[in-house]
């Protein structure tokens, strides 16, 4: 029943998003984490598009590909021992 009302595309991307979020949290090494987080961001962009929210997808795209990585990478670089 749960499956029936969802489009297969929606199913796939939802499962990928779950896996992505879990991976971001469980990746304890921040240098790997920022890469995983980037992938998670792209999954979210796809999900938002599937949910018929192009405006939100566009924001997430800009923020996830430039905003997050830049500040986080610099923070990682400055705090490396």
């Amino acid at each position: 029943m749960i499956v029936a009302t969802l489009h297969p595309l929606q199913w796939t991307i939802l499962l990928l998003v779950v896996a992505g979020a879990t991976a971001v949290v469980l990746t304890r090494d921040v240098q790997r984490q920022i890469v995983v987080n980037g992938l998670y961001g792209i999954l979210l962009v796809i999900l938002f598009t599937v949910f018929a929210a192009p405006d939100v997808a566009l924001s997430m795209l800009v923020v996830g590909t430039v905003g997050y990585p830049l500040v986080v990478l610099i923070a990682i670089a400055r705090t490396r021992k």
């Binding site: 009302t5 929210a53 924001s59």
Partner: protein, 114 residues
């Protein structure tokens, strides 16, 4: 009952909080915070979704065509901006912590207690 998208949001919220509590690195913690926040985007957009609905943009589309809820999308936009700013603020604080304490493990800062 089709609640799968909501369950996804719930799981992401829970796993994000788990990451925050168990984190040993402030940068990791800040990213877990953004993961928790991403659960609110998914929840909001899933709530406003209408089966078979297109985006609430009526350019080249007849008015009255089924479209998803525009309000949750505007709320999500606000939410995303908030997440970037909070992430950057926490990272700025973390950078300063590192300068003073030479660690960014929240368990090791240990300046304030009691």
């Amino acid at each position: 009952m089709s609640v799968a998208p909501y369950l996804v949001a719930g799981w992401i919220c829970v796993i994000g909080i788990y990451g925050i509590v168990t984190s040993r690195n402030l940068i990791h913690l800040a990213l877990c915070l953004t993961v928790t926040q991403s659960s609110t985007y998914i929840l909001l957009l899933a709530i406003g979704y209408v089966k078979g609905g297109g985006p609430p943009i009526f350019k080249g589309v007849k008015l009255g065509t089924t479209a998803v809820d525009p309000v949750v999308q505007s709320l999500t936009l606000t939410d995303i901006v908030v997440s970037v700013t909070v992430l950057a603020l926490i990272l700025a604080l973390a950078l300063n912590v590192h300068k003073e304490a030479d660690t960014i493990n929240p368990d090791e800062i240990g300046e304030l207690s009691g």
